[in-house]
Amino acid sequence: MAWDRNQMAERAADELQDGWYVNLGIGIPTLVANYVGDKDITLQSENGMLGMGPFPFDGDEDPDLINAGKQTITELSRTAYFDSATSFGMIRGGKIAAAILGAMEVAENGDLANWMIPGKLVKGMGGAMDLVAGVGKVIVIMDHANKKGESKLLKECTLPLTGKGVVDRIITNLGVFDVVEGGLKLVEMADGVTREEIDSLTEATLVN
């Protein structure tokens, strides 16, 4: 039994330490906020907010209050607002402890590709390149294999990079992997997943 989306998010939440300022990407990473429990975590939204609250109740939406995915959100008692240059100043300046984001491909040297598929519609990198270059720890959450069953943990990325050698830890539906010297190190397997399954679905070099 591999992990589902919520279990991956729950596992990723274990990575966050009390007192951290964290940026969560769009998609599964957003779900991580549901699992931080009692930890004192401040969420950053790169459009200019620290202390991001949950979605508003129906009827309380404010067009002046959105997250980086353009969704309506709410503020908390700790919230601070600032402009985009200040926001990316704290990202580039290493003040954000961790970013959790999705990916299309990760290579065994920590290269990350998550913004562009040549020949398909190109939407842009948004803040992803700044985040992976600047934050303390980059944690990727993604399915281990793509829809065709091909490994997304590769020896080398085939898609244009978002960042070079930037990923620290990868949480897939099959387990947890660290980028280390010489390849990826299997840190943890999802319940019921076998080492054989992981080996057969991983193109990247697995080191012990």
């Binding site: 959105i66 240059a85 580039r92 390149m129």
Partner: protein, 234 residues
């Protein structure tokens, strides 16, 4: 000569010319200068290069200027919400320069501070670095990015006094201060013009030195992704 104008068209009078570079504030449809965009549409100014994080949607925001083919080139970080943009880009009618979001914001801020270039580690080893100078500081590579010196900045704020001191509201601040700073001339549209002295000087987000013209307008403030939770969950 006061800074307050009666309409967006009057506030832009004499500032627009074909082929100009405009920096626009806003993130998605949040905090965009919607009245000034409409006035530029009505003025028919062509061959614009627009530096803005996003390109609006088909019928709102900067998408309005794409529909009328007034934009030659966009400098943006994310343009995924606009079908007409994609059509023009894929058919070669529209130029696009992708900038990482933080690099775009800093290019505006830097120009506004008289800094023509700066080094950043964002984009090192990616297509963004192609053709750019690389410099190593303390063992880490950085690429040279240049400031965006715009002919005109169009921004949206919540409140202004008649001297142009601005207050923004929540995440509608976003790119508006850096965009305002990088314009040779900055025109701001606000929801409310308030009497001088009614904003606590300690609470001013952008001082009026950056603001040349002010217009008060009505704002649709369209929501792009209305997302709510059910009250039962509370």
């Amino acid at each position: 000569m006061g800074k307050i104008y009666n309409s967006a068209a009057e506030a832009l009078d004499g500032l627009l010319f074909d082929g100009m570079l405009i920096a626009a504030g806003g993130f998605g449809l949040c905090g965009i200068p919607e009245n000034l965009i409409s006035a530029i549409k009505d003025a028919g100014t062509k061959d614009l290069t627009v530096a803005s994080n996003n390109a609006g949607v088909d019928d709102f925001g900067l998408g309005v200027l794409l529909q009328t083919r007034q934009v030659k080139k966009m400098i943006s970080s994310y343009v995924g919400e606009n079908d007409e943009f994609m059509r023009q880009y894929l058919s070669g009618e529209l130029e696009l320069e992708f900038n990482p979001q933080g690099t775009l914001a800093e290019r505006m801020r830097a120009a506004g501070c008289g800094i023509p270039g700066f080094y950043t580690k964002t984009g090192v080893g990616t297509v963004i670095a192609e053709g750019k100078e690389v410099k190593n500081f303390n063992g880490q590579d950085y690429i040279l990015e240049e400031g965006i010196f715009a002919d005109l900045a169009i921004v949206k704020a919540w409140k202004a006094d008649d001297t142009g001191n601005l207050v923004f509201r929540k995440t509608a601040r976003n790119f508006n201060p850096p965009a305002a700073m990088c314009g040779k001339t900055c025109v701001v549209e606000v929801e409310e013009i308030v009497p001088r002295g009614s904003i606590d000087p300690d609470h001013i987000h952008l001082p009026g030195i950056y603001v040349h013209r002010i217009v008060q307008g009505d704002h649709e403030k369209r929501i792009e992704q209305r997302t709510v939770r059910q009250r039962e969950e509370a």
